[in-house]
């Protein structure tokens, strides 16, 4: 017995590694057409860990005060070795994380993995998505640049629109009537203390529930294999874990490429008394709300348009949160599916519109829309039956979207 084996035996006896091993060997992953949807959760977890590490690193040099915040971030990207890379990785990873979470939500919905007994798993997941969007919003202000300052002003003003409690919420969010150094301190505390604590709690519950109930098998797949014992599956360790790690590698490679090739911009320092810069926009995952609020008229009948918009998005969030309890059979499921399709289409159209909001960017709007549509359709492929016409129709739509994408891109490049 060599030294490594002896050390392993020493630890196994004292830490009860056998129990852990038994637990790990018990966990199995079902194999079916949609198995690769399971990778999104692991990828999100991996990106969250990157966020923790890079966030801790940035906090070593960052100073949360209006006099020093911008200068300290400037020092991070110019003076500290590899500071530009760490900051870029933090920003890019945040965006990738939100993107992966959207896909995780969408694919979980497609597989209807929220069915009994996994309702609470779904609810904690949607709440985690909300927390990560709050991370994004609070982190956006921290560099104290012009864009962040006005995005925070607009974002918190939207909170103020909420009927009855809006003005109080606004004061609470900003720590005053205006966006000041106190707002920065609040957002910093939220970003590095409050939200991480909430996230760890909810994430712990989410992961525990996933382990407890095991992986959900889509109803159609479960119907194919009637006897549960006979349905194909693979062990989590090492088969699925190694596949999961390939997903992490892909995420890491994409993150490294994006951070190195497109370092995150810092912009200019915020001046609370200058006018807002042109083309001001929030992060892409808030863009669909931003664009909708831009399009809503000031008054719809006797009601304030913005109030309607804010209430509408609040209702949408509530429906997403309560999806497992609204799915009560074939009819309600059909309604939910139609709503989900409309919501995804709405998200794609509004994001593309908001992204290229200038008149001469119409073609780019189509390119982005077609690209997002192709991705969304591609996600649908595993959840359709290859034997039915639905799969063919899906391929047809995808081909159409790709043709539109290529045509618009070619036209834009040639013109």
């Amino acid at each position: 017995m060599d030294r490594v084996d002896r050390l392993y035996c020493f630890l196994r006896e004292r830490l009860g590694l056998d129990d852990l091993q038994r637990l790990a060997s018990k966990k199995r992953i079902p194999i079916h057409g949609s198995t690769h949807f399971y990778y999104f959760g692991g990828m999100a977890l991996f990106l969250f860990m990157i966020q923790i590490v890079t966030g801790i690193l940035l906090s070593l040099y960052y100073k949360p005060s209006p006099d020093q915040a911008f200068e300290s971030v400037e020092a991070i990207v110019t003076e500290v070795d590899f500071g530009w890379l760490i900051r870029s990785a933090h920003s890019w990873s945040a965006n990738l994380l939100i993107g992966v979470l959207f896909l995780h939500l969408l694919t979980t919905y497609l597989m209807r993995a929220y069915r009994r007994p996994r309702e609470i798993t779904w609810v904690t997941g949607v709440m985690l998505l909300g927390l990560f969007m709050a991370f994004g919003f609070s982190g956006y202000l921290l560099p104290w640049n012009e864009l962040a300052f006005f995005a925070t002003r607009v974002g918190t003003a939207i909170v103020g629109i909420v009927p009855v409690i809006g003005p109080q919420l606004l004061l609470l969010a900003r720590g005053g009537e205006e966006v000041t150094g106190d707002t920065l301190a609040r957002f910093y505390s939220l970003h590095v203390v409050v939200l991480p604590l909430l996230t760890f709690t909810l994430l712990g519950a989410h992961l525990f529930l996933v382990q407890k109930h095991g992986m959900s098998v889509p109803g159609r797949e479960a119907g194919v294999h009637d006897d549960r014992a006979g349905s194909p599956s693979m062990p989590f360790v090492p088969d699925f874990l190694l596949r999961d790690m390939v997903g992490w590698y892909l995420a890491l490679a994409l993150l490294a490429a994006l951070s190195a090739l497109f370092p995150w911009e810092l912009g200019t320092k915020a001046d609370p008394f200058s006018s807002a810069p042109e083309g001001i926009q929030p992060e892409w995952y808030f863009l669909f709300m931003f664009q909708t609020l831009k399009l809503i008229p000031a008054y719809i009948g006797p009601f304030n348009g913005e109030v309607i918009g804010v209430l509408f998005f609040g209702m949408c969030g509530l429906v997403v949160l309560l999806t497992p309890f609204l799915d009560g059979g074939r009819n309600s499921r059909a309604v939910l599916n139609v709503l989900a399709a409309i919501a995804v289409a709405f998200f794609i159209v509004m994001t593309a519109w908001g992204w290229f909001s200038k008149a001469d960017q119409q073609l780019w709007r189509i390119v982005l829309g077609a690209l997002l549509t192709t991705i969304a359709l591609f996600l649908l492929v595993p959840s359709t039956n290859p034997k039915t016409g639905a799969r063919q129709m899906l391929y047809g739509f995808m081909a159409l979207a790709v043709v539109v994408l290529l045509a618009a891109a070619c036209w834009e490049v040639l013109a």
Partner: protein, 166 residues
């Protein structure tokens, strides 16, 4: 022909490449992190010359003493002979005003001048230095570093210019 041994070799080679690739990734990730943790280069280093924020006649209880000398506290001391000369209106000699790196050589507390004892005292662990910076008693292992002092300006109200070589 693939026999069992060859197959085992191939598997071992694959596992080694996998381990190698993962190790390379770990190095590629941790090298920037380690560099990031290294402190920024100091903004002030080498030779330095600073004018103390007080005049000679304000010593020994001048406010702002010790003062910031390139990021470290610097203590300026007027010797008892200097105090006498200043009181009698005589011209100060170059040796009458001394400046020290005020960081105790024991565990880096900041030292103070005790006029009633004519010594430099570290309150953290009762280290005592004389007015040449040498250890008199207590734990400090080395004398305090002494800086060059130049006096300039009107007699009796000279400015204290402290300098050090690189």
């Amino acid at each position: 022909m693939v026999d069992g041994r060859q197959d085992g070799n191939r598997r071992a080679w694959l596992l080694r490449s996998l381990a190698g690739a993962i190790s390379a990734t770990v190095v590629a990730v941790f090298y920037p992190v380690a560099c990031f943790l290294r402190p920024r280069r100091a903004t002030v280093s080498g030779a330095l010359e600073v004018v103390a924020p007080f005049k000679v006649n304000e010593l020994p209880d001048a406010s702002g003493n010790p003062f910031n000398f390139g990021g470290k506290p610097c203590l300026v001391v007027l010797t008892p002979e200097g105090t006498k000369r200043l009181a009698s209106g005589a011209r100060l000699r170059p040796d009458d005003v001394r400046a020290f790196d005020a960081v105790c050589t024991h565990l880096q507390c900041t030292v103070e001048y005790r006029a009633d004892h004519d010594d430099i005292f570290c309150p953290c662990h009762d280290g005592v230095y004389d007015l040449n910076g040498r250890t008199v008693s207590g734990p400090p292992p080395r004398p305090l570093e002494m800086y060059k002092v130049t006096l300039r300006g009107a007699a009796g109200k000279e400015e204290v210019v402290v300098s050090r070589k690189s």
